[in-house]
Symmetry: C2
Subunit: 367 residues, 2 copies
């Protein structure tokens, strides 16, 4: 019966229906085990660090083949199994109603079910991560909203799916010069007409604003995204969708320091602690600057690297994600310089230098 | 001639023109002194801690009557005078072009003028604060954009003034269910038709989203603002303008802890380190929850206060801003309980409890 349901799914709704179906199957599976007289159990991909492997083909960290079992037949495991099933039930209900919730709200809701016995939010967060691993999708796809402070500005029309009141409403994302907040609604919206030719993801609020004031969105036909530091998950989901569904090239702009490198790295190939999720990375995205090699080239004012910068740099040099010639060269250059530079340092030349000179240079250089 | 200029100022543009004129007067004043053969000097309100006084009538901290002198006749003071005049010149130019800039960009731009000799950004930030004190307006009004991550959602039409490309464009702020980012453009826009009857400022992203999903904006005819923690300056400016220009009552919703109290306190009566600025506070705004007394009333799950919470609580108990009976009672209750609660704890009852039960209760209680 669950299989049959699948036939009626409309193309554009497939993702939500898919998760809906997976959650229902999870429940159906438990019920079937109980009805056939056995202790119900579930097998979940292990998130143990020795089960995290780098997949060269997917170009991201993924979980290996190891599994863990949650079984009602083991007194020690009955609690996490119950917690997992309740969390799945709660998600299913919210998803059906087109509502979302935060990790914090989930934790407090659980207080109504003393049997769940989550002592701290850390415990319920863990169970949510188990559910992500089990379903293979990020939690935002089953209704859990991460904290968001990213923004978007660009010439694309979208059609909202959630919340209920906004279903079917169409909006252009270039009407608000301060940017529109990226949350569940924008990240999951259907893309309609898009007049942009590329995506530029920017680490910093101030530079995002600079790009709008200097009309970079027109000059480069670009959708601008302010990741506000490390890109939150909805921003990563949206960047991936713009790249995969609309075939837009994605360019990432960060400070020239190890933290900037890693902001780009996480957009491109994900983070180790999200190895249990596929669907958030954009392997085709390119880091276009500030490169370590830009520091000399553009005669930028620099700052000395501090101990924590140097420590982070060493870590990145060991990281599989940064083993290509390009990354190696950049990381070596940082090490030799012992200095870092910020995007704002380009404004030494003029406020509009970054848009008038730097980006055109870079787009030519990488093409 | 400068005075005459004033006659041609259109009503709605008065603020920008006002600052423009003040900056021009500052420059004119310097030039006049030089031409009359004296070393130019400027007197600035002192920001020394013993010149910060609480104004009972304005209900905010302000600077007292003490002044400091910046004079070109003193070898020690010629540098800060030069820095101040350059900063004013830079602001004037940007303001004229309808552009904005960040503190970081200002610092790097100064690198083109070695005579300014700012060693660290801290120094140029200080000069900006001097300019704020001198003009008596927050820096965002002379083009400097603070970092922003607040959002708005509500039924009001606005007309943008900046950036240039958007001047005169009209937008409704209830079209994006993830919220619109509050930056310089929204904070300085002209208010047109407003169908809302109140403003609800919320400390947290997740609860802001909850209010949108539960359609609280319709239920209470409310403009919702996500302050994302301590309200950034554009959010405070916007809240004040909505209150003063449109006479909308403002209600503030935070966690029940000393930090939540102070988020409300800063919106209502400003912060001590912004004592040199008027125009960012909303004395009429009301903190409607979570109160310390709500913890027992709504049987909320709590967390123990940690040492830093208790230390902060003691500080607030000493603070002039919290000396009314209402605040005293709340702070005492916190101290007796030794516990705190989060907005999300209301979701123990149900996800929509905060909108369906709690807010209506509160609005009745305070009216």
């Amino acid at each position: 019966m669950l299989k049959k349901l699948n036939l009626f799914i409309m193309e554009e709704e497939s993702n939500k229906e898919d998760i809906f179906r997976k959650l229902q199957e999870l429940g159906g599976n438990i019920v079937a085990q109980i009805e056939s007289g056995v202790f119900p159990k579930i097998s979940i991909p292990s998130r143990n660090v020795n089960n995290i492997v780098y997949d060269e083909k997917l170009r991201q960290y993924i979980l290996g083949p190891q599994k863990v079992i949650r079984s009602a037949g083991n007194i020690r495991l009955i609690k996490p199994l119950t917690q997992l099933i309740w969390t799945a039930w709660f998600s299913l209900r919210l998803l059906r109603d087109g509502k979302s919730f935060t990790l914090r709200e989930l934790y407090y809701q659980s207080k109504n079910f003393p049997i769940l016995d989550f002592e701290e939010q850390k415990e319920s967060d863990e169970i949510v991560t188990d559910l992500e691993a089990l379903l293979g999708v990020p939690r935002e796809e089953f209704g859990l909203t991460p904290k968001e402070n990213s923004k978007i500005f660009g010439d694309i029309d979208i059609e909202y799916k959630v919340p209920v009141k906004f279903k079917g409403k169409i909006e252009n994302l270039m009407t608000s010069p301060d940017g529109k907040a990226i949350g569940m609604s924008i990240a999951t919206a259907k893309f309609l007409k898009c007049r942009a030719k590329m995506v530029i993801a920017i680490e910093k609020d101030g530079i995002f604003r600079r790009f709008i004031e200097e009309e970079a969105y027109e000059k480069f036909k670009a959708i601008l995204i302010d990741t506000a530091g490390q890109a939150p998950r909805f921003a990563r989901l949206l960047i991936r969708r713009l790249n995969q569904e609309l075939k837009l090239p994605v360019y990432i702009l960060t400070d020239a320091d190890p933290w900037g490198v890693h902001i780009a790295g996480v957009i491109i190939s994900g983070s180790a602690n999200a190895a249990h999720i596929k669907g958030l990375v954009t392997p085709e995205a390119k880091w276009i600057g500030l490169w370590a090699t830009d520091i000399k080239k553009y005669k930028l004012p620099t700052l000395p690297m501090k101990e924590r910068d140097l420590k982070r740099l060493e870590e990145l040099m060991q990281d599989r994600r940064y083993h290509s010639d390009f990354w190696k060269k950049q990381l070596r250059e940082f090490k030799e310089l012992g200095r870092k530079a910020e995007l704002e340092s380009l404004s030494k030349h003029s406020l509009s230098f970054i848009v008038d000179e730097y980006i055109p240079d870079k787009l030519e250089e990488i093409s």
